[in-house]
Symmetry: C2
Subunit: 210 residues, 2 copies
DNA sequence: TTTTGAGTTAAACGTATGTTTCAAACAGTT
DNA sequence: AACTGTTTGAAACATACGTTTAACTCAAAA
C-alpha cells in the first residue's frame, strides 16, 4: 500500500511544519521534500493545500474527539447524576490529549499550536470548518462546566472558559521555548506532565475566582 | 510633509492587515494599496518587509513601554516600599495598554494579536528583537509579581505568569469574534473594558491558586 | 534661474509558490 | 501475458511575491 504510506508521510511532515512555521510559511515543496514524496502527491491525494490543512486537523481532532466523548460516556454510565468538578473535567480533557499525543514527545505542543493557528489565522474557512465539526463536543463540555460552576453568570462563564482555553493554547504551544527558558534560568527540567500539573490548578482557581 | 504621511499610512495599514491575516499572508501590495501609496514606498522608507514588521512593533510597544515604566516610577516615588498586589500590577499594565490603544476601538485586539503572532510566528528574528528590546521591563514586572506572591516556588511562578500572558493574548486577540458570539448567544454587548474587567479577577485568582 | 536631492511613480526583475499535465511505473485481475 | 485502474515522476504552467531600477516631480537652496 504505497498510497497509505504516502498520505501518512505527507500528514506527518505537514503537521510538524505547520506547527513550526504556520500555514502560509510552509510550502508544499518543503512538505513533500521532508516527506520524501513527489510534489504532485499532495494535490493528487488531497486536492489542494487547503484540503491538506483540514486533513491534518481531522487526523488530530478526530481521535481526540472520540476519546473525550467515550470517556465521558463511560463515566456517566458508571456514575450517573454525578456532578463533575472543574478539576475532573479538565483531567478528562487532559487525559484524552495525553493519550492522543503520546508517543511523539512534542506532539502536544504541535496540537495546541495548530489549534491556536486555527483560531487566529485562516480567514474563516478553517474556523468555520472546526466549529461545525466539533460543536457538539464543545457544547457538552460547556454544559459540564456550567454544572460545575452554578453560581457563575453565563456571560462571565463564557469568558472564563476562553481564558482557560487561552492559557492552555498559548503556553502549551510555546512549551519547547518556555521549557528551555526554565532550564536555563532555574536549572530545572519540566516534563509535559509537570506543566499540565501546574496548569490545571491555575485554571481551576481562575474559573472559580471570587 | 508627504514623507511622514506616507510612512504613517503604511504603518497604519500594515498594523491592521498584519493583525488580521498574519505576516506572511499580508503582501506589500495589499498594504500599499490600502495605504494608497506606491508599492516601492515600503522598500524606500523601511528597507524591507522585515523592517516594516519591526517598525510596526516599535510604534506599538514604544509608548506602551514608556507608559508602564513611568507610571511605575511615579508610584514608587509616591509610595516607596509598598508591595503591590497582583491586581495592582495588572491594573498598571492594563491602564497603559488602554491608554496606548485608546482612540481606535479594536486596537487592543490588534495589539494582542501582534504580540501573539510575535510569540508564535516569525522564526526567531522577531522574538529575538523584542526580547532584547524589552527585557528590562519584563524583568521589572516579574520582580513585582515575585514580591506579590512570596509563597510561590520560582518555577511555578514562571509558569503561572505565562498562563496569565496566554489568557490575555489569546482572548483579547480574538475579542471581536468572541464578542460577536456573546452578542449572538447571550444577547449582551461587552465592551473592551468589560472583558478586561472579567479577565483581571480570573488572572489574579489563578496566580494565587492553592 | 538653475541645481539639487528627497519623494514618488510605473515597470520590470528574479524567485517561489500552488497547481496541472502527461508519460512512466506499478499492482491486481482476467 | 495482456489489460486496467491507480499511483508516482519530472517538467512545465500561471501567478503572486519582495525587491530593484530608472525616469519623473517638485519644492527649497544656490
Amino acid at each position: 500500500m504505497a498510497q497509505v504510506d504516502t498520505v501518512t508521510r505527507i500528514l506527518d511532515a505537514a503537521e510538524e511544519l505547520f506547527a513550526e512555521h504556520g500555514f502560509a510559511e510552509t510550502s508544499l515543496r518543503t512538505i513533500t521534500t521532508r516527506a520524501d514524496v513527489n510534489l504532485a502527491a499532495v494535490n493528487y491525494h488531497f486536492g489542494s493545500k487547503k484540503a491538506l490543512i483540514q486533513a491534518v486537523f481531522v487526523r488530530f481532532l478526530g481521535p481526540f474527539y472520540k476519546l473525550v466523548e467515550s470517556s465521558l460516556d463511560a463515566h456517566e454510565k458508571a456514575h450517573p447524576d454525578t456532578i463533575l468538578s472543574i478539576e475532573d473535567i479538565l483531567r478528562f480533557v487532559a487525559r484524552a490529549m495525553a493519550s492522543v499525543t503520546q508517543g511523539d514527545r512534542n506532539r502536544l505542543a504541535i496540537f495546541m499550536r495548530l489549534l491556536g493557528l486555527a483560531y487566529n489565522q485562516g480567514q474563516g474557512h478553517l474556523r468555520k470548518f472546526l466549529q461545525s465539526e466539533y460543536r457538539s463536543l464543545f457544547k457538552r463540555v460547556m454544559a459540564l462546566i456550567t454544572k460545575a460552576t452554578p453560581d457563575l453568570q453565563p456571560v462571565e462563564r463564557f469568558w472564563r472558559f476562553h481564558f482557560m482555553l487561552g492559557s492552555a493554547a498559548f503556553t502549551l504551544s510555546s512549551m519547547e521555548n518556555l521549557r528551555a527558558i526554565v532550564e536555563h534560568d532555574f536549572d530545572t527540567k519540566c516534563t509535559e506532565e509537570d506543566v499540565v500539573g501546574y496548569l490545571l490548578p491555575f485554571l481551576a482557581a481562575g474559573i472559580r475566582a471570587k
